[in-house]
Subunit: 156 residues, 2 copies
Amino acid sequence: MKFNKFVVATLTIGLSGAALAQTIGKAEDQIRWRQSVMQTQGWSMARIKANLEGSYNKDQVIQAANTIQAIANSGSGGLFQPGTDTGKGWRETNVKPEMFKDAAKLKEVGSAYNKEANEMARVAASGDAAAVKVQFGNLGKACKGCHDEFRKEEKK
Amino acid sequence: MKFNKFVVATLTIGLSGAALAQTIGKAEDQIRWRQSVMQTQGWSMARIKANLEGSYNKDQVIQAANTIQAIANSGSGGLFQPGTDTGKGWRETNVKPEMFKDAAKLKEVGSAYNKEANEMARVAASGDAAAVKVQFGNLGKACKGCHDEFRKEEKK
């Protein structure tokens, strides 16, 4: 999958893509949407994992990696508006208030997420399962980097 | 955004992408994931709509259209496994049992969704707001085509 120049340019914005154009929706919509976006990423990661642990289907891994890449470049940072560290979408948000207070850390973890997601799509396209395994680890660390900083313990 | 040959090939499979590789997750996971996937599409459509109705930001529309395209080509049809016309993800599923009984209709509406989503991404990249407006209408009809057939009335 190839992205145009704009999308590449937004990599440096990372999760702070809120600066882009209109912010839409009420707080409850934004929280539900961001929970949905993250679940879609979770589904995609689970698919790649299943392929690495079971029989490897190149095409399914590409589908999953392309989804991850598109969402990582979607500007979903705009769904994390100040004041939405409390509130309910599908469920109560798990965002820590710190997310809205540490712009430098947010940019750091957001940029890592973008970088590794783009690399995941590139590696998936190669069909090299061993390289996908390595990159899956790198991407997982980038996800965890943000979760550790800005997500409360999952409520089960 | 360009997709490789495989992804183009799956267009004919549409929502019935269940044939691809492993199916993962329990029924409740699959229902939550598909609800999340659809909400992510809904968010993206709402963003395009806001740009058409307010000031037009080409880059935001591209982000939204690329997300729609990636998800439409993600094989999320695999999340609609037989037997999941009842069950709870984020909420009770709205899928009608008919979805699992009319493969021809499913293929028809799924293929339209894929086609219009790919075209949406192509048109968004052009930055031509008038053309985006037309294609937004076409894609909305394709979404509605499936919802009318296979989705129960939204529970509020």
